[in-house]
């Protein structure tokens, strides 16, 4: 596995805070023969899943902020 190829896969995972660090560690472990291909493939797939989790966390945060704003609006309306 080419480390550069591994790192290039990060382009799609910007939401994961330490994605580049994780990918670099995977690539280094492969180069040093510490990981087999199956293990490396699963770890890279995990990065994709972590990105989905990060996207979900952002969505939840936005939802909560919106709900807070709407709660405030409803409170104002109810007091008119």
């Amino acid at each position: 596995m080419d480390p550069l190829q591994t790192l290039s896969q990060l382009a799609g995972y910007p939401a994961v805070a330490d994605a580049s660090n994780q990918a670099l560690q995977i690539a280094q472990a492969v180069q040093q023969g510490q990981l087999n291909k199956q293990e490396a493939a699963q770890l890279l797939e995990d990065l994709k899943t972590q990105n989905q989790i990060a996207a979900g966390a952002n969505a939840l945060q936005e939802h909560l902020a919106f709900n807070d704003a709407m709660s405030g609006l409803i409170l104002i309306i109810s007091n008119i």
Binding site: Q22, Q25, Q34, E39, D46, Q50, Q52, G56, A57, L73
Partner: protein, 132 residues
């Protein structure tokens, strides 16, 4: 007040679907998330021991499945449930890997636990933001 009427009318027409509140903070859900995070943090010390690591991933798998089963029944919990299911997918991969025969690398164990820790931390932090 007249200016607010259209807003109220739109709310009623759309069934207030845009105003769907997420489930409030749930202590039990947060507790299991913290457990998975803490396990991922501490189990790395066992990575040189394959048998112990196999047991550790089995425990984490049970916790992750428990979490999905618990979160599934909470109303208005779809966003957290999605994250929890993804966390379970990562944990399940480790469990399945250790079910296959042969020696597994210390590096895989350490990197996998780091991935689980990062994922659990993201979900944990997001879940903590929910209203009490």
């Amino acid at each position: 007040m007249k200016k607010l009427l259209p807003i109220l009318a739109i709310s009623l027409l759309s069934g207030c679907s845009w105003l769907q509140f997420q489930a409030p903070f749930d202590t039990a859900e947060y507790s299991v998330l913290t457990q998975i995070y803490t396990d991922a943090e501490t189990f790395s010390q066992d990575c040189a021991d394959t048998d112990k690591t196999k047991q550790n991933f089995t425990k984490m798998r049970i916790d992750a499945r428990y979490l999905v089963n618990y979160s599934t029944d909470l109303p208005a919990n779809d966003l957290t449930l999605g994250m929890v299911k993804n966390l379970q997918t990562i944990v399940e991969g480790a469990y399945q890997m250790y079910q296959s025969p042969g020696q597994h690398s210390k590096a895989y164990c350490e990197l996998k636990l780091n991935a689980i820790k990062t994922a659990a931390e993201t979900v944990k932090k997001a879940a903590a933001q929910r209203r009490r």
